[in-house]
Symmetry: C2
Subunit: 220 residues, 2 copies
């Protein structure tokens, strides 16, 4: 019983800080995106491919979350977009306080779009509000078409599911239509977007258009 109360207290504390983060973002008109998914699902690769387009219209900053290494922040900086790296030293998700500490060092009035790439994990990050406006859950075809059924919270608590590595589907015996059916079985309302290499080029138009629409809707 004590365990449950402690869990609820920590959750309430996180939610309160997330709400404070959200107020700060709204005050400065910063749109905040939280990207979640398993290790290697293709979160950073997706960013590498959408940032060069999005950065033409928007002032973007990326916060990368990982247990260890600066690898992902370095990958993002190579696209010309500024990035910071949070190392959780073992924790399986980012929390609102980590984001709070990070944004205290930023000039939010100089940012239109803040992208948070969470720790690679299909379970833990889902239950932590960071103060974001929009969530994307990334699911790659090599993970297998039954994963939506096995990880329901990730399908339920997101605005969109991005299926990545669609070009690998035939090599990993995955039927993308079946994967989509399973996603909608858990969450009939969630938007599904598909990205992958097409004739050697990474095609991420679906995600770019989706984000542009969501950001425009928020402004309008």
């Amino acid at each position: 019983m004590a365990e449950i109360e402690m869990g609820q207290n920590l959750k309430s504390l996180n939610d309160a800080i997330a709400q404070a983060n959200r107020s700060g973002f709204q005050k400065h008109h910063v749109f905040v995106l939280d990207i979640m998914g398993s290790p290697g699902s293709g979160k950073t690769t997706l960013l590498e491919n959408i940032l060069p387009v999005l950065t033409k219209e928007l002032r973007i900053f990326v916060i990368e979350g990982d247990l260890a290494t600066q690898n992902d922040a370095e990958r993002i900086r190579k696209t010309g977009v500024k990035a910071a790296q949070i190392n959780t030293n073992g924790a399986c998700h980012l929390d609102a306080r980590m984001i709070q500490s990070e944004i205290e060092q930023l000039d939010l009035s100089a940012i239109d779009l803040l992208i948070i790439e969470n720790v690679g994990n299909l379970v833990c990050p889902i239950s932590y509000d960071l103060g974001e406006d929009l969530r994307l859950v990334i699911l790659s075809t090599p993970e297998g078409e039954d994963k939506p059924l096995k990880y329901p919270p990730a399908m339920l608590h997101t605005d969109a599911v991005v299926i990545t590595k669609t070009d690998l589907a035939p090599y990993v015996d995955v039927n993308i239509e079946t994967m989509k059916t399973y996603i909608h079985q858990i969450n009939p309302k969630v938007q599904i977007l598909e990205v992958g290499k097409c004739n050697g080029i990474y095609a991420a138009n679906a995600v770019i258009t989706y984000l542009e629409e969501k950001i425009a809707a928020r402004k309008g």
Copy 2:
């Protein structure tokens, strides 16, 4: 401070139950394997391929851990091996008490090898002792060659790392030798095993031989 103490108390409680599980296993000469890795890394597929061989010599039982669904236990039963499914209903790992509840329903004297397939997660399961003799961490090539550096605890607290889907490496721009170098950079002593499709056949000999040796060493 209260949070940390609570965490340590829960950890101590888990370790005490794990130790009780271990005593029960030793009393009945049950060798216990804990398999961990990300969603879709190929844990169940590995089992589907090694069980038909191992079951010729050993009486095996498999415990499957997942947030939801009975899918994996059903896949295991199709190989002719008995299996039970634990649904964690949101928890990102199995704990020693879940295993304790499960083994209370089993006749341990009729089991030589108990295999526990943990919840798909490269972070949470690592810090929970279940009472096992041996740990395997599964890492698939589509997850990317840098993952050992980004998830050090998973590399440190295992007996062996199994690289799966080696046949997909060229399609996902992964150099297996680099991946192995990174694994050994974090844990120079860990054993690395490789499995994947070879001419259309899933080759898992490395894992079968490794397990047979470990089980024989324990008996001898």
